[in-house]
Amino acid sequence: MAVVLVPSLVAAQAGGKKRFEVEAGTVGEALRGLPVADLLLDERGELRTLVNVYVDGVDARRGEGLETKLGPAAEVRVVAAIAGG
């Protein structure tokens, strides 16, 4: 069972829930199963440009992106890029 952790702004869009336990083999499967998937992935199912995902501390974009494999106890951490105004 992988664990997905999301930032507080995203959690506020999921009734305050910051931690999700998911059965997923890849990052993409894990994110697509969340109730906030549309905030993390665009309408083509691609990771939004300013959304970063770390799998056990490693940037998924440095791996296989959404196809990055998850171990049975993986921690998937969603982090917003530094942006805004």
Partner: protein
């Protein structure tokens, strides 16, 4: 119900509640913290609040609340369909539909797209005729992106709609959105290198239809203030009669008087602040033949900026929100103004509800 100004800001949503005589106002909020609320409106048919809320990281959303904003529900799957080369970048404006279609609302967004819901905002479907409009390749985004920001529905005919996109111009549908025709005759596009009066490409900043005389439309444009008395077929330019500039964004009307309108001119496209070091609202009572500056209760010195959703009206008042974080309200046609809120984040939108 007591009046409330719904205030969308760069950093969340606020409600500014007034007393029955509209002289004392209190700020509630923020809600939707972390979201840029480009526009929020109360659906007069059921009281639900709807917001076009955007975030740098998490994209464009449509949100709705049935408990005065205490909790919000995000619409499902807001985006452009497979097969389109475009992606939704921002949600700009939510417009409740015709009185005869109580579950229908419209949402305008960028890049120049319109959505419709028939289930009160749970799901939205893009308008294909606009998405695939044959003139789209000639549309050009302005500073705010290619935004569909004005959606006006004829109260006498649910199928007759007028929308405006910056910078594509006004489009009218007489068949409920099955087709859209440009309606920009007489509207200048001074920023174009050659043809200053093209059929599309005008930079409408705000378009309003008069609710009691729906064939009359007003627009504040990048290049002038205009009025149409034939549903947009032809336009008359009005800004040489007392207005200090042709440039501005916000626009307000008087539901009881089709000849009245209010605008907030800015110096120009290259310096987008109110002229003469003060915030002045300009009013016409004669269909745009002449304009008068109103300033009683408005700040001076001030270099204010009012965005395209920064003016709103109901049957008693006009509200103006500034990028300096103030909301001003008049309930006597602009003769006097009250600062209903100050020190808010930059105001992106106001609505009176």
């Amino acid at each position: 119900m007591s009046p409330v100004v719904l205030v969308g800001t760069k950093k969340g949503f606020f409600l500014v509640r007034g007393d029955d005589v509209r002289t004392s106002w209190e700020v509630e909020g923020p809600q939707l913290k972390g979201w840029q609320v480009f526009h929020a409106v109360r659906d007069p048919r059921d009281g639900t609040l709807h917001a076009a809320a955007n975030n740098w990281v998490y994209g464009a959303t449509a949100q709705r609340s049935s408990d005065e904003g205490q909790t919000w529900e995000r619409s499902e799957g807001l985006g452009l369909p497979e097969g389109s080369e475009l992606k939704l970048t921002e949600a700009w404006h939510v417009e409740p539909g015709h009185a005869s279609e109580p579950d229908t609302l419209f949402l305008g967004g960028a890049p120049g797209v319109l959505f419709r819901t028939d289930d009160g905002g749970t799901t939205w479907e893009v308008n294909r005729a606009l998405l695939e409009h044959p003139t789209r390749e000639r549309w050009q985004p302005g500073a705010g992106g290619l935004c569909c920001h004005s959606i006006q529905i004829d109260p006498t005919d649910a199928k007759r709609m007028a929308i405006a996109i910056s910078a594509a111009g006004m489009f009218r549908s007489d068949d409920g959105g099955e087709s859209w025709e440009p309606r920009n005759t007489g509207v200048a596009a001074d920023f174009m290198p050659d043809d200053k009066y093209p059929d599309v490409g005008q930079c409408v900043h705000k378009l309003l239809l008069h609710p009691a005389r729906p064939e009359r439309l007003w627009q504040q444009n990048h290049c002038g203030v205009y009025r149409s008395d034939d549903r947009g077929d032809t336009w008359e330019r009005l800004d040489k009669n007392g207005l200090p500039s042709d440039f501005g964004f916000g626009l307000a009307l008087d539901p009881a008087d089709p000849d009245s309108a209010w605008v907030v001119p800015e110096e120009g496209a290259e310096n987008r602040v109110t002229p003469d070091g003060q915030l002045g609202v300009y009013r016409t009572r004669d269909g745009g033949a002449s304009w008068q500056r109103l300033e009683n209760g408005l700040p001076k010195p001030a270099w204010a900026a009012v965005l395209r959703e920064g003016m709103a009206y109901d049957d008693r008042s006009i509200a103006v929100g500034t990028q300096s974080g103030s909301v001003f309200v008049t309930s006597d046609g602009g003769e006097s103004w009250i600062e209903a809120a100050s020190q808010l984040p930059p105001v992106l939108s106001v609505e009176l509800a």
